[in-house]
Amino acid sequence: MLIDWFTVIAQVLNFLLLLWLLKRLLFTPVLTAIDERENSIKTQIAEAEQKMTLAAAEKNTYHQKNKDFEVERDTLLTEATNTANTKHKALLEAARIEAEALRVHLEQSLKNDQQNISREIRERTQQEVIAISRKVLADLASTSLEEQIVAVFIRRLAQIKGEEKERLIESLTKAAKEIIIKSAFELSLDQQAAIEKAILPLTSDPIRCRFDISSKTISGIELNVDGYKMAWSVADYLDSLEKVLAEMLNGHPDFQATSKPTKNEPTV
C-alpha cells in the first residue's frame, strides 16, 4: 500500500476547505451564540445581583423605617393614651363638678319648691283654719254670747291692775271727754250703761262714750282712748291661734310648748 501523493495533496486541500467551512458554518456561529448567551446570562446575573443588592438595601431601609415607625407609633400611642387619660380625668372632673352643681341646684330648687309648697300649704291651712273658726264663731254668735262678751269685758275692765291700770287712767285723763267703744254687734242700752258704769270709777272727769259697730271685731269689744287700746275679742284668740299655727308649720322649736292651750282661752 503506497501513498498516493495526489490524493494526499487533495485531502490536505479538502481538509483545509472543510476547516474553513466548519469554522464559518459551525464553530464561529455556535461560539458566538454561546458567548452571547453567556454574556447575556452574566448581564442578567449581574443585574439580578444588583437588584438583589438594591432590594437588600431597600429591605434594610424598610426595616429601619418600620422600626422607626413602630417606635414613633408606640410613642404617639403612649402620648395619645396619656392625653386621653388626662382628658378623660379632666372631663370626668368637669362632669362631676357640673353634676354636683346641678345636684346642688336641683336640691336648692327642690328645697325652694318644698318651701314654697310648704309655705303655700301653711298659709292655705292657716287661712282655712282661721276662716272656719271665724265662720263658726260668727255662726255661733248670739245674744247670750254677746252678753257674755260684754260681761267678760266689764270684768276684765274691773280686774285691770297695776301699771296697765295707770296707763288706762292716764289715757282717760288725757282723752277729750270721749272714748270710743267698738263692738262687733250692736250693744243694748243696758249694756252701754253697764260699760259706762264700769269705766266711770277709773276717771274723775265726766266722760261720754261713743259706741260704734265694727265688722272687723269678731264677737268682741274694743276700747280706744288716746292711743290706748283695750280689747277683748275672739279675733285676738284667733290671731294667737294663727301665730301658733304658723310657728308650728315653720318647725318652730317651741312648737310643743306653744301648742298647749292657754288659760285665757275663751269658752264659747
Binding site: W5, T7, V12, L18, L19, L25, L26, F27, L31
Partner: protein
C-alpha cells in the same frame, strides 16, 4: 482489502477522482450542510432546537478538552482541532453503513491529516510567540539537540499518520476477513467495535494534535518569558 486510492472514477492527466476523495467530499458536504442547516436558525435565548443543543454540547466539550490539555485560549485552536475530530469521528461513525469504507483507512488521508498537524504546530507556535521564540525550541536544551528535535517532529507526524491509518484500516480489514470466515454475527460485532475504534482514534488523533500544539505554545511562551526576564 479495498484500496480506496486505487478506485479511480475519473482521471485527466495528473488530476484524478478516486474513492477516497469522493467519500471525503460526501462527508464534507454532509458536515457542512448539516452545520449550516442547524446554525442558520441559531437562537441566543434559552429556548433552542435539539440539533442546536447537540451541536453546542459537542463544541463545548471539544473546547473543554482543549482547555484541559493546557491551551490557554481554546477558541483559537477549536476550529482546527474540532474539524480534525469531527471529520475523523464522522468518517468512523459512517462505517455503520454497509459497503462504506472510511477515507481514514487510506494512508493518503491520514498522511494528509498528519501533514496538516505537522504544519499547524509551528504555525500556532509562531503565531503565539513569534518566529524566533519558536525556532529556539529546536535548540533546547542545547544546540546538539537540533537534529533530534527535527527527527522527533518528523517521527511523531509519521506516527500520527500510521497510527490512525493502521487502526482504521485494521478495523476494515478484520471485518472483511471475518466476513470470509463467518458471514453472520461476527461482522456485526466487529462493526460495533469499529464504531468504538473510530471514535477512540478520532479522540486520540485530536488529543495528540492538541498536545503537540500545546507543547509548541508553552515552549515558545516559556522562551519568550525568559527573554523578557
Amino acid at each position: 482489502m479495498i484500496d480506496l486510492d486505487q478506485q479511480i472514477f475519473w482521471e485527466y492527466g495528473f488530476l484524478k477522482l478516486n474513492a477516497t476523495i469522493l467519500i471525503t467530499w460526501i462527508l464534507m458536504v454532509i458536515l457542512a450542510l448539516g452545520s449550516w442547516l442547524i446554525t442558520r436558525k441559531i437562537t441566543l435565548d434559552s429556548e433552542r432546537s435539539r440539533w442546536q443543543n447537540g451541536l453546542e454540547i459537542i463544541v463545548i466539550n471539544i473546547n473543554k478538552q482543549i482547555k484541559e490539555i493546557g491551551i490557554p485560549k481554546p477558541n483559537l485552536y477549536l476550529p482546527f482541532l474540532g474539524t480534525l475530530f469531527l471529520f475523523i469521528a464522522f468518517a468512523g461513525l459512517c462505517s455503520i453503513i454497509p459497503g462504506y469504507v472510511p477515507p481514514t483507512s487510506s494512508l493518503s488521508t491520514t498522511a494528509a491529516l498528519a501533514i496538516c498537524v505537522f504544519f499547524a504546530v509551528p504555525f500556532f507556535g509562531i503565531s503565539n510567540s513569534g518566529l524566533l521564540a519558536y525556532l529556539k525550541n529546536y535548540f533546547q536544551p542545547t544546540v546538539i539537540m537540533l537534529p533530534f528535535n527535527i527527527i522527533s517532529e518528523l517521527s511523531r507526524t509519521i506516527a500520527l499518520a500510521i497510527r490512525l491509518f493502521g487502526n482504521m484500516m485494521s478495523g476494515a480489514m478484520i471485518v472483511s476477513i471475518l466476513l470470509s470466515i463467518s458471514p453472520f454475527i461476527f461482522p456485526v460485532v466487529m462493526n460495533a467495535l469499529g464504531l468504538l475504534t473510530g471514535m477512540v482514534q478520532a479522540y486520540i488523533f485530536s488529543i495528540l494534535a492538541a498536545v503537540f500544539i500545546a507543547a509548541a505554545i508553552q515552549e515558545s511562551g516559556k522562551n519568550q518569558h525568559l527573554k523578557i526576564e
